[in-house]
């Protein structure tokens, strides 16, 4: 990915993220968050993580944002605040964020691991086909030999080959979440 595009998408991600934090109207914040997630998905694509990028758009910019907008409009939240700004909280929040950013920049600058670029670590697709050998499915090795990265297939293979149990636990979590939402949003019949 050309550096210009990286900076553009990083700017989109961080700029709209800033708008989420500072926006007055909750609807503005929600739309800015969706835009920020689209920028983040582009960054994922630039890292050759196509599946994760698409999932990011589908789940975050799609499902989660629709849920947020639905709740904002259901509750009919006006642009409140503004009356009294919590000055101490704002100062401490900004201070903590600046400190954390500086600390991360220092730590990242201090390691030689962070100096790696995509040119230093090129993907070796044809090599990988040979190294995976019999362990991989034929469809994966065929794609690798053809010179394309079978991103979704490799993630699916990793998930079902190594993390089958974890996948089932996550499924159970979603079930528990669904039941929890139903229980929480049920109106109590008899108020004690």
């Amino acid at each position: 990915m050309p550096p210009l595009l990286f900076y553009l998408f990083a700017l989109i991600t961080l700029g709209f993220g800033f708008l989420v934090v500072t926006g007055r109207n909750p609807v503005t914040c929600a739309l800015a968050l969706a835009a920020s997630f689209v920028g983040l998905a582009a960054l994922f694509l630039s890292l050759d993580a196509y599946f994760i990028g698409v999932i990011q758009i589908l789940v975050y910019a799609g499902a989660v944002m629709v849920l947020f907008l639905f709740i904002i409009m259901l509750l009919d939240i006006k642009t409140e605040e503004g009356k009294k700004l919590n000055l101490s909280a704002i100062i401490s929040g900004v201070l903590l964020a600046v400190l954390l950013t500086l600390q991360i920049i220092m730590v990242v600058g201090g390691t030689d691991l962070a100096g790696k670029s995509a040119q230093d670590t090129p993907l070796a697709l044809a090599d990988a086909a040979g190294k995976l050998g019999k362990a991989a499915l034929p469809t994966i090795t065929n794609d690798l030999k053809a010179g394309t990265l079978p991103d979704a297939k490799l993630i699916g293979f990793t998930l079902f080959d190594q993390y089958g149990f974890h996948l089932q636990v996550i499924g159970l979590l979603l079930l528990v979440g669904t039941i929890g939402v139903v229980v929480l949003s049920k109106r109590e019949r008899s108020a004690p």
């Binding site: 993580a49 789940v59 919590n86």
Partner: protein, 105 residues
Amino acid sequence: MITLGHYLVVSGMLFSLGLAGVIARRNIIIVYMCLEMMLSAANLALVGFSRFHLVNGLPDYTAQSLVFFTITVAAAEVAVGLAIIVALFRSKQSVDVESVTKLQG
């Protein structure tokens, strides 16, 4: 030349933005959006490490599986959290964090 460090700094800045929002904002729904931003920032760091740590000439797909799980957990968390916010709004008629102070003692 874009290095891993660039991605990690962007991820750190996004996380810090989310943290500032969680501390400074008073609207519960916006606090929640900032939490989502922090989760995605962690995802960006994970995917960055996955791309620059090659296994057999391919990205490290263990990290991307973890991102997959994180996104699933975040989706479940949003559903339950927003249901709690709706229940809270029903009892308090407000989404201000200052309106929930019963446990403050």
